[in-house]
Each structure stands twice: as C-alpha cells, then as structure tokens.
Symmetry: C2
Subunit: 408 residues, 2 copies
Amino acid sequence: MRLLQVTDPAKVLEIIDTHFYPLPAETVPLEEAGGRCLAEPLRAREDIPGFDRSTVDGYALAARDTFGAQEGLPAILNCTGEVLMGRPAPSIAAGQCCLIHTGGMLPAGADAVIMLEDTETMGEMVYAYRQVAPGENVIHRGEDIQKGSTILPAGRRLRAPELGLLASLGMTEVPVHRQPVMGILSSGDELVPHHTAALAPGQIRDTNTPALSYLGRQYGARVIAGGILRDEYSEFLERSRALLEQVDFLILSGGSSVGSRDHTARALQEMGEPGLLVEGVAIQPGKPTLLASCGGKPVLGLPGHPVSALNIFLVFGTAILYRLSGRTRPDFSPSVPAFLTRNVPSRSGRTDYVRVKLSRSGDKWQATPVFGRSGMLRTLAEADGLIIIPPAKEGLAQGEAVEVYPLD
Amino acid sequence: MRLLQVTDPAKVLEIIDTHFYPLPAETVPLEEAGGRCLAEPLRAREDIPGFDRSTVDGYALAARDTFGAQEGLPAILNCTGEVLMGRPAPSIAAGQCCLIHTGGMLPAGADAVIMLEDTETMGEMVYAYRQVAPGENVIHRGEDIQKGSTILPAGRRLRAPELGLLASLGMTEVPVHRQPVMGILSSGDELVPHHTAALAPGQIRDTNTPALSYLGRQYGARVIAGGILRDEYSEFLERSRALLEQVDFLILSGGSSVGSRDHTARALQEMGEPGLLVEGVAIQPGKPTLLASCGGKPVLGLPGHPVSALNIFLVFGTAILYRLSGRTRPDFSPSVPAFLTRNVPSRSGRTDYVRVKLSRSGDKWQATPVFGRSGMLRTLAEADGLIIIPPAKEGLAQGEAVEVYPLD
C-alpha cells in the first residue's frame, strides 16, 4: 500500500494561487455585477458631487455677509427665494440669501449655508444670529470623488457600497471576471440519486451533489451537476473529460472505497497536463484529498465522506473559486471568540477542523465539540462552526480561548 | 421644529420581533431550499445508515473468530468472496470472512471488520494478526439517525450540511417559510435613475436602489425596485400603497430634505394600522430612521444619505428579512479582532457605527477609521468593516482592542 504524500494546507493554498488564474473579463450590467470582481481598475468619469451642495437645511449666503453676527447683533439678509431640489439654483447678490434644503445646489454668489436653527425670518428678511465661515455646511464639487481619479482597483469584489459608488457615476456596465462554472461528479457503485424513493440493500443516496451545488452557488459559481459515475474506469474517465470541457473547475466527489479513489487519481493524471499537484493533505477531516491541474483547469478530488468533502470544499474549493473569480482571497476570516467547554485531542503535525456548537454563558460564548464519526452529516448539521487546531498543537484544553468560524 | 423621539437600537430589534411574524409555509424542491428556513420540525423517515456498514477497507468477519489472535499467532479464516458496493452482501458462516470496502454492507454472520493492514492472504486463506471487538470498524444501522427522530427543528436555516442530511433521507420536498418580497422606492426631486447618462444641474443619481437591491437579495429576498417618487404627497402615498400591496416588506429610501422625510412619516401613518413604531434611532449614522407596521407589513423609512441608508439596512433591514424568513436571528455575529490605530471620538448615549480599513501588523490586525462625511459612499467602499461603539462609551482610544464586523 503506497503511503500518501501529504501536503500542508497552507502549501495547498499557495499551489492554487500559483497554478490557476482569474477567468477572462466580460462586461455585465451593474444590476448583475454584485459579488463579482473587477477585471480592471475603474476611473471616475465625473466629479462626485457634480455641484456644490448644502449638507443642511438653511439659507445659502456669502459667508462674509455674516461676519461679526452674534446672538444680540444679527446680520440681516434679504431672502430671494428657494433652491428647488433637482433644479439649477438661482444666483444671489451681496446681502441676499436663498432657502436651501439638504443636498440642494448652492447658488452662484453663495459660499456657505447657515442652519435654519441659527436664523429667524421676518417676511423676506432673514436674521442670521451667528457668523459662518466660507465653505461651512457645504460639500464641494469633486470633494467625494474627483473626475479621472481611480475609484476602485482591479480585483475588488463589488459589495453594496461599490455598487452604489458605480451607480452614482452612472456606470451601467462593469468589466468583471467571468463567473466560474463548476462541475460536480459523484462516484461510487453504492450511490444512487438523492431523489431515489426506496433504497435497495447496500445503496445510499448521493448527498454531496446537492450540498456542494448549494455551496458552489454561495461562493459565486454556476453549477453543473453531472450525476453519478460507476466504478468502471473507462466510463469514469470519459464522463469526467466530457464534463471538464464544459466547466472551469471540476469536482470529483470520490466514492469511499480505495478503488474509487484510485480511479480518481488515475483520471486526474490522464485528463491533461500537468496532472496531479496534491495527493493528500495534512488535514482532518479530509486527508485523502486530490488536486490536479488538467490543461490549466483545477480538478479537486474530494473524499467521499460527506463531512470530509464539505470541509475540504470550504477550505480549498472556495479558494479555487475565489482565484478563478479574480478575487483576492480575503486575508481576514471573521470568527466568533469563544471558550472551550472540554478538552479536544488532536494529533501534532496536521491541521484539525473541529465541529462545535455555540451557546451563551453570561456575556461570553462557549464552544462545545460535536462528537461523532467523520462520516456523519448529523454532526455537521448540529455544528454552528469550526475551530482550527494548527499542526504545532496537540489538542486544546477546557477553558481555552478559541475562534469559531461559522459554517455556511 | 419637533424633536425626534429616538429609540435605542436594541429596542428597535425587539419591536421588529414583536410586531412582525414569519411568512406562511410553502413546499419547495430540495434544490431550491438552500438558505431558506424550515417551517416545521422534520423527522427521519428512515434509519441512517440504512444498513450496518464498514468504515474501513478490510475483511468482514465474526469478531469471536479472532479472539486471541496476535502477531505471532494469527487467526486463519476462509475468504468466501467480496462485498460489492451497492449490492446486498452475501452471508458468511463461522470461520469465514469476506473482503469489504469502506462503506460496504456488512454480511449477515459478520459483526466486525479487520483492517487490510492487519491481515495477510494466502490464496483463499486470510491470516488475521490481531483480535477485533464486536462492532469494531462498523457503523450500525440507525447510528447516525434513527427513523422517527427529529432531525432538524423548525426555524433552522438550511445550510449545506442540512441539505446533505435531507438528501441522505430522500427528502426531495421541504416545507419552508415563503421567501420575502422586498419593495424599494427612492424619493427626492433631485434623484434620477442611476442609468441616466448626463445629469442636469442639481440632479444626482439614485444609488440606494441598486445597492439595496443587491443587499436584499443577499439576505434572501426577492426584490421589486419601484423607482423614484417625487416630493408630491398624493402621488407619493398612492405609489407607496400600490407597491406595499405587492410586497411583504417595503423600504422607502427618503430624500435628504426635511420635506421628503415628512412625506415618508405621513405616509407611514396613513398606509395602515398601527402605523409608525419608531421615529428616530439613537444610532450614528442613520438617526432619522422610521419604522412602521402598515397592516402588519413592515415599512422601513431609510435616511437619504447612502452611507446611513446602507448602515440602517444592515442593522434593521436584515433583522426584518430574518424575521419574515422565519429565521432565528443568529445570536452570534462573526467579526475580526483588531487594534485601533487612532482615537475615535463618539457621543455618549448613542450607538456609533465607525467604518474601518483592516491592515496587517505582525500577526495582528489593525483597524484604521476611514474618515469623511457621512454621505460619502467612497468612505464606505474603502472600509472593510464596521466597529460598534456602544452608547455607554465616549469614544475609543488608540491601541484599544475592537471587533470589526465585515461589510457585505
């Protein structure tokens, strides 16, 4: 029996970044660009705001007309009208002012706005009870964004603020990296489609296809589920090849037997150059993970155990999707700080992912490991998240502070 | 000028949970159930696994036939064949064994599996070099899930592990709460649709519609964007009413002027009972937030400033969507622990949401506030996340430990 050459998880992430590249650019409407990553830096084609605007409700005026004004000695101005929202502002002369609303366009001749509460009106006369400085309560043209400046770098994922920013500039079409298409094939003679009503003895339903399809979509992919492969090598290879041609990233969710794993490893070598890159990872659960580059496309061979398969997809499958999407992998992973309620053993030299449930204890969170064999989906469904035990540690002690990474 | 009656953010969340309810149940195919919440608890209709299975590659046998076996004194068994994956297992008699793969069905007559590496074969003879206990390397029928047991509670959001679990049981249709339909109307005479190519003086593009549409979909809603309302009350009311009829949750993204805000407040009182519930929140940015229940449907009046609007949507809009979806609001919010690079002032008595950028400093994260006026989307696009300063605190000091909540 050949021993696995296991690779460190951090090294696998490096291999992913070295061997695979962002997909080509395409232009999509802004409405469909959310979550996608910019294929090139974007420059502003306009100033934002496009005109000097008031930041308060008040009177637009020339600041110098208020110099020296105070509680007992107001400056008196002549109100010539109102700035209507969305309309060009009328201009004012010295000694005049104009009613203006938040966001309204500053009239020519005005350089500041006095707030309503600092004034009183008597007919067309406005009494200003304090002095304002030039520029006070005004946001100037181009103050948020200057025309020609770079507003977003290449690789930036478009979240709600970025979409708002692009919308404010009238950018209706956005250059983004193409959305990855992810293919999934499950293999194993014991597997039947999950919608099979009655199982024959020895059969089990394929759970990886529906679970991984959902995760793939969550992480930005379009998913093609290719069905179930029998443990017959020539058919296995032919159908894997056929699906690989249609996708950017192929997942072979292995059967749990050695034979089925051998088929996957062999197919990963034969589907294209350079072939196998990783043939085992120092990780638990999920050690028998395979990664290949077949003609430049990533192919991930997942362990058949559903819990291992989901764990490996979350660690490496998402990294592959991020890479293909052109996204810089977020350096930060949000987590929930918690305390362990019991000891957790771990073997030194490998990275352990431990399923935990979160519960409240006073104003702290406590994390309780969910025990059970690795194949059991129930243990994963009961877990709120995962804690990671690095290779240098031999387990964690009760009461130790841990970071819990929520499960999607 | 009437003073706002501001409500504490925690109280607003309470009001949301008290006044609104999960939407009715519907049945959807498993493939579309990801992210939805169960409308009722689910029971298992089968045992999982459905038969005793091997957890290793080895030989299925009766444990008692190996009792006393050791390195120099193997037990000798007669191998009668192989358990084929997905097929009923043949039965064995005393003194016999059967080759079995991981996941294979245990033959009648066997109660344990010895691993391949603990054996040697000579023709049809298998030498077992250690003794195994009854049940060793076997997962028993029903050990993961027992038929009739409750596998998932009502309100549980269906993540990948839950989908896998349901698939393993052959559950192809799932009872979930209906997906919320969220309507968005922007108001303000200065607003034009974001796809407007050239702006006239005083006009700005509506950025809240595209940004909030994306966020609404991210948080599980189907979104109807109703366009832009003029600051003319009867049209404002009529169009708000018409959209409210089509949706489960209406967002009125207010113009920035006092007049436009007054229209929103008035409409929220007139669209249905009981009307306004919240007319200002002790939060920054986003104080002039309105919340109403109009005939039992939530209507949220957002401030016009894009940064305030997005902040309020993330704090309260998402809570409303969770409530309608039947989801128990996650008690835990994942965050990134960091240290502040400078002092951040804050007013006591209100909750401040401060935009920060994250950067690496050794093995720690440091959070640097992104300064700029509240209306500026650029400051939000530059931010990686938000830190929350509770009402009891008057600012945070440089070097202080903070939790950064990532921005979607």
